[in-house]
């Protein structure tokens, strides 16, 4: 009952890293909450790889385990079985402190809400991960990121003086400015109206295209997923399908098939074979 996805260099993805090793790899990852009869299997042996310089979306109905997968991939949560690799580093088995430093130095985050520290200005928020690591921000890079997200005139403001869209843009800038190996975005547009959401997603896609950033995004919104290069579908803790060069329609269609068509457990495998 293991679904296996190897890194799809063959896809039409505009990734330059066909030959490069994947940024993040999960091998046979399982996650169980509780024990005995009360055990909940959130992930059942997921193996997946995320290519460098690609924008990947993880989709699935509520309870499919997509957030759990992201937390495990990002070193926020521990796995019950299998292993997670960030580049050459094996996350599984690392101590909390090592994981924390790894997150600080090599991973960026964008959450749905409560992304920013209320006591800090936008600029301080953006620089926070770098300062925590004791690194100096490359000023040219910082300026470029700030200009890309269009926050130049908002740098001195505190989060409560910014709109929801602006706050998420600050979060994007924060994730980008540290140039992490991978950015995990958890429903980054979940709290935004469609225009602000489109803006944020535009930045994320641009950062992948223009800056070579690697992004893994969890979402339940087919429109959001359509900004990605590749969409991975989860159901009941297993990867059941994937899609390259998605459009909102193809995503919606696939989603309908995996959720509605409960009688097609092999849909994912078919697709995999077909792909």
């Amino acid at each position: 009952m293991t679904s296996t996805f190897t890194s799809p260099g063959e896809g039409a993805a505009a990734s330059a890293g066909a030959a490069a090793p994947p940024a993040v790899t999960a091998v046979e990852v399982s996650k169980v909450y509780g024990s005995g009869d009360a055990a909940v299997h959130a992930l059942r042996g997921v193996s997946v790889a995320f290519a460098r310089g690609a924008f990947t979306a993880i989709m699935g109905p509520s309870g499919s385990g997509k957030s759990t997968l992201m937390h495990c991939l990002a070193g926020l949560d521990t796995v019950s079985g299998g292993r997670v690799m960030l580049g050459d580093t094996r996350l599984t088995g690392l101590k909390d402190r090592q994981l924390t430093l790894l997150r600080r130095d090599r991973i960026g985050f964008i959450f749905q809400a409560f992304n920013l520290l209320p006591t800090l200005t936008a600029e301080q928020n953006i620089r926070l991960p770098l300062e925590l690591a004791g690194r100096k921000a490359d000023q040219a890079w910082f300026d470029r990121v700030v200009d890309v997200v269009g926050l130049r005139d908002r740098l001195g403001h505190r989060p409560n003086q910014l709109s929801g869209g602006q706050q998420q843009r600050v979060a994007c800038a924060r994730a980008l400015v540290a140039r992490p190996e991978v950015i995990f975005a958890d429903e980054p547009t979940g709290n935004l109206d469609s225009r602000a959401g489109a803006e944020v997603l535009g930045f994320l896609r641009a950062s992948v295209r223009e800056m070579g950033q690697t992004i893994v995004m969890v979402t339940h919104d087919p429109v959001a997923a359509s900004y990605a290069d590749r969409v991975v579908f989860l159901r009941d803790g297993e990867i059941v399908s994937e899609l390259f060069q998605p459009t909102p329609d193809t995503v919606l269609d696939r989603l309908a098939r995996i959720t509605g068509g409960a009688g097609e457990p092999s849909a994912g495998n078919e697709q995999n074979l077909a792909g």
Partner: protein, 833 residues
């Protein structure tokens, strides 16, 4: 959120309950302790009085019964035994050949047979002219054991030797326990003390009370056993009331601090539960219901806390009783007294204080608009703080007059009581003003206090300092609680240090001597140092100068026309102006000639004297009129300083009240001291103190005082620290999301814990520094208002220690909240909205 709320609630109940518990515990403990002590004393007196069937006492306190009365009482029918109590000074000589203690020991007659009211703890009661007993404590301290020979001076200072036949507990006798006591049989006691009268006559037998009263006459009263017990206990009870009042004052401070902590907790919780409140309003809860709900909650918290407090108080009382029992006061340890009054006072205070503290937060709860339920909640504590008009008004209306009163009382008004009251009022007003303005002070103070930690602890440090400053109102209330304790402690320290420094300086400037010689004081006879002692010292080669101070009490009439008791004194002429230099605030020492007098500033004020005024004195050798030529500052100088010639002529007292000895250059130190002590061998009651020892004595006294106050105020400070822990815990709950975000972004557990520590540190520093500022200011003002020419001394090391201790304690207060913050799972905290 609900889950966090519930958890917070349980914790709040615990922490708020703790604050109340400690406050009530202190108050209840005070009652338990004093009640138990009182019960012990009552019982002891009752038991002691039980041995007596009737007692004859002089009507007036300190009166006497003629010796002949005893025989007349003994002759009455039904009297099986009657014995008189003799009491006077009987100076015990220690192993070093000098008198024991600062005050002469008391010589007491020890009754025999049934009427023996003191417990003989070892050996037997004294009988005959060569036997004596000592009180156990003095014997232990001076290392005398039964069978040894002791030397006691009689009333003419002649030594007598006695065999120590026993050790007794004179515990029911206040004077004996204070000064130490030597017991004799009645005849020997009379011989030693020189008293030919009785202070009390105890009767055993079935004598008729009226018959005894008839014999005793109008100057005496007759009490039965029960009345005697009550009379004795009432005397001791006055002390107990004083102890109780003093302790309760500190209890009050603790309760005030508790009230602040409770107020803050409820205020924070109401803010956190805004949505819940709004939801309740949406579904139809009235304002009154919300208000009642919050108050009811506070009542429950108060009740639980108070009940725990009673238990703690009982424990505290028991511990204090055990501790005191181990030292000197022997209190019967059996049966602690928990009076219904203690329970009632404890519960009422606890519940009422809690409810009163919750009134304002409860009112705030009622102001929540129902629509607030629908709003997405803002990050807490990010709103900009603007000081409101009421706070500003209170701050200005109390602060300005407060500071003016402080300054006016200290710098302008005449020194003395009214100036001190003015200063106290000013201090209280200033404190209220600071409390009102504190929220506005938190940000700047936080920046200052946080400057160093922010630099040292890096980004987490900076974040922590920001967190401490983000809700000024909350931080202000939390820190003010600490300010109270630290402020009072600082004030007492400044007071004590200043008094000690002033004494030091007076001695150094006016009496720059090497040794000070004073008689034992506090005896029933006025004690002096014989003139011959001064003569012997002058003959020593190691001694450069001996200055005699002689004083005599006299009726003085000043410019106001009122006759008052005053002390006239003179100093050895040869030393005046050379060895000892009284400091004049007006006039000059050179003008002091026969027929003139210099008065201290205090005397000048009370008698309305200034240069040129005349004072009249009634002396044994006729009236004396003197012209005032100057005023001196208060200190060792007598209130009325006259020339030696006038003193000799009109008072004729040759023996000194104090000697000041200067060693010859090079002979100072141990050589001179040994010589002085050898010369004083015939005068064992004269106490030799070097100036260094004298200074140390003052310092020790001040230290003891500060330690006692610190211990008593320690509780208030402890409660304030609970307040810091409480605020932090609630903030941690509130900032669960934020903490999770930080952890995701790469803040390690340790860094997160350190953040909380730094936040607590900054809060503690804000509170402590404010406290020190207020304490120093009011300490300065009180000291300055107290008397003229006082030296204000700021004990920097000690004040720095207070701040450092507060900082450390604050950091410790963060331990639990920090653990809690660090333990929270990142994923869980992030997962739910």
């Amino acid at each position: 959120m609900t889950l966090a709320g519930l958890r917070a609630r349980k914790l709040r109940l615990l922490l708020t309950g703790l604050a109340i518990m400690l406050g009530v515990g202190f108050i209840a403990g005070t009652f338990v302790l004093t009640d138990t002590m009182q019960a012990g004393v009552d019982e002891k007196f009752a038991r002691s009085a039980d041995k007596v069937d009737l007692a004859v006492l002089p009507e007036k306190d300190g009166g006497q019964l003629p010796a002949a009365l005893l025989d007349r009482v003994r002759a009455l029918s039904g009297v099986t035994d009657a014995q008189g109590t003799v009491r006077g000074d009987a100076v015990l000589i220690g192993r070093d050949g000098r008198a024991v203690g600062d005050m002469p020991t008391v010589g007491i007659s020890v009754p025999t047979g049934r009427l023996l009211r003191y417990a003989i703890e070892r050996g037997r009661p004294p009988a005959g002219p060569t036997e004596a007993v000592l009180d156990t404590e003095t014997a232990d301290r001076e290392r005398f054991t039964v069978g040894q020979t002791i030397t006691v001076l009689d009333h003419r200072r002649r030594p007598h030797r006695f065999t120590l036949v026993g050790l007794a507990d004179f515990g029911i006798d206040r004077e004996a326990s204070l000064r130490g006591a030597v017991g004799f049989d009645a005849a020997t006691a009379m011989r030693v003390t020189g008293k030919r009268v009785y202070q009390e006559i105890d009767i055993a037998g079935t004598a008729d009370r009226a018959a005894v009263a008839a014999v005793a006459g109008p100057g005496a009263e007759v009490l039965d056993s029960e009345q005697l017990g009550e009379r004795l206990a009432a005397l001791a009870g006055a002390d107990m009331k004083l102890i109780r009042a003093g302790l309760l004052l500190f209890g009050l401070v603790s309760m005030l601090v508790s009230a602040l902590v409770i107020y803050n907790t409820f205020a924070i919780l109401i803010t956190q539960r805004m949505r819940e409140m709004a939801l309740l309003r949406c579904v139809g809860a009235t304002r009154r219901q919300l208000f009642g709900g919050v108050l009811a909650e506070s009542a429950v918290v108060g009740l639980v806390g108070s009940l725990l407090g009673l238990a703690v108080g009982f424990g505290l009382g028991a511990a204090a009783v055990a501790l005191l029992g181990r030292t000197d006061l022997d209190i019967p340890a059996d049966g602690l007294t928990l009076a219904p009054r203690t329970v009632a006072v404890g519960l009422l205070t606890g519940v009422l204080v809690t409810m009163a503290s919750a009134v304002l937060p409860a009112r705030a709860a009622t102001r929540v608009a129902p629509v607030a339920a629908l709003r997405t909640d803002l990050e807490p504590g990010t709103e900009r703080f603007r000081i409101g008009l009421p706070r500003l008004a209170v701050g200005v209306l109390c602060g300005v007059p407060g500071l003016v009163l402080l300054w006016y009382g200290a710098a302008v008004m005449d020194k003395g009581e009214s100036a001190m009251f003015t200063v106290a009022g000013g201090g209280a007003l200033t404190f209220v003003a600071v409390t009102a303005l504190m929220p506005a002070l938190v940000r700047p103070l936080g920046r200052v206090a946080g400057a160093l930690p922010a630099r040292l602890a890096g980004v987490p440090g900076r974040l922590a300092v920001e967190n401490a400053r983000r809700s000024p109102r909350r931080t202000a209330t939390t820190t003010i609680a600490l300010t109270i304790g630290v402020g009072l402690m600082t004030m007492f320290t400044v007071l004590g240090a200043s008094v000690a420094a002033t004494v030091d300086e007076r001695l150094a400037e006016e009496f720059p001597v090497d040794f000070q010689l004073v008689p034992q004081f506090g005896g029933t006879d006025e004690q002096r140092i014989p003139h011959e002692a001064a003569a012997r010292l002058r003959a020593l080669p190691q001694i450069a100068a001996v200055t005699e101070m002689r004083q005599q009490k006299v009726r003085v009439t000043g410019a106001a026309g009122r006759a008052e008791d005053g002390r006239v004194g003179a100093l050895t002429t040869a030393s005046l102006g050379t060895v000892v230099k009284p400091e004049f605030t007006s006039g000059a020492l050179a003008d002091l000639r026969p027929g003139t007098v210099a008065v201290t500033t205090t005397t000048a004020r009370s008698q309305g004297l200034r240069i040129g005024s005349t004072v009249r004195m009634q002396t044994a050798r006729g009236p004396l009129t003197l012209k005032v030529i100057g005023t001196t500052i208060d200190g060792p100088v007598p209130p009325y300083l006259v020339t030696e010639a006038d003193f000799d002529r009109y008072f004729g007292v040759r023996d000194a009240t104090a000697l000041y000895v200067n060693a010859r250059d090079g002979a100072a130190g141990e050589g001179a001291r040994a010589a002085v002590e050898a010369a004083l061998k015939p005068y064992p009651t004269v106490r030799v103190t070097s100036v260094a020892e004298l200074k140390k004595q003052y310092t020790d006294t001040v230290d003891t005082m500060v330690v006692i106050f610190a211990a008593l105020l320690g509780l208030a400070i402890l409660i304030a620290l609970f307040g810091i822990a409480n605020t932090l815990t609630l903030s941690v709950v509130e900032r669960t999301r934020e903490s999770a975000l930080l952890r995701a972004l790469g803040v390690t557990r340790r860094q997160l814990r350190r953040m909380l520590s730094v936040e607590a540190l900054v809060m503690a520093l804000i509170g402590a520094v404010t406290g020190v500022a207020i304490g120093v200011a009011s300490g300065w003002a009180v000291v300055t208002a107290m008397t003229e020419d006082i030296v204000v001394s700021l004990p920097y090391p000690r004040i720095a220690l207070f701040v450092a201790l507060a900082a450390v304690a604050g950091t410790l207060a963060a331990v639990l909240p920090a653990r809690r913050a660090a333990k929270t799972s990142v994923v869980e905290a992030l997962a739910h909205d």
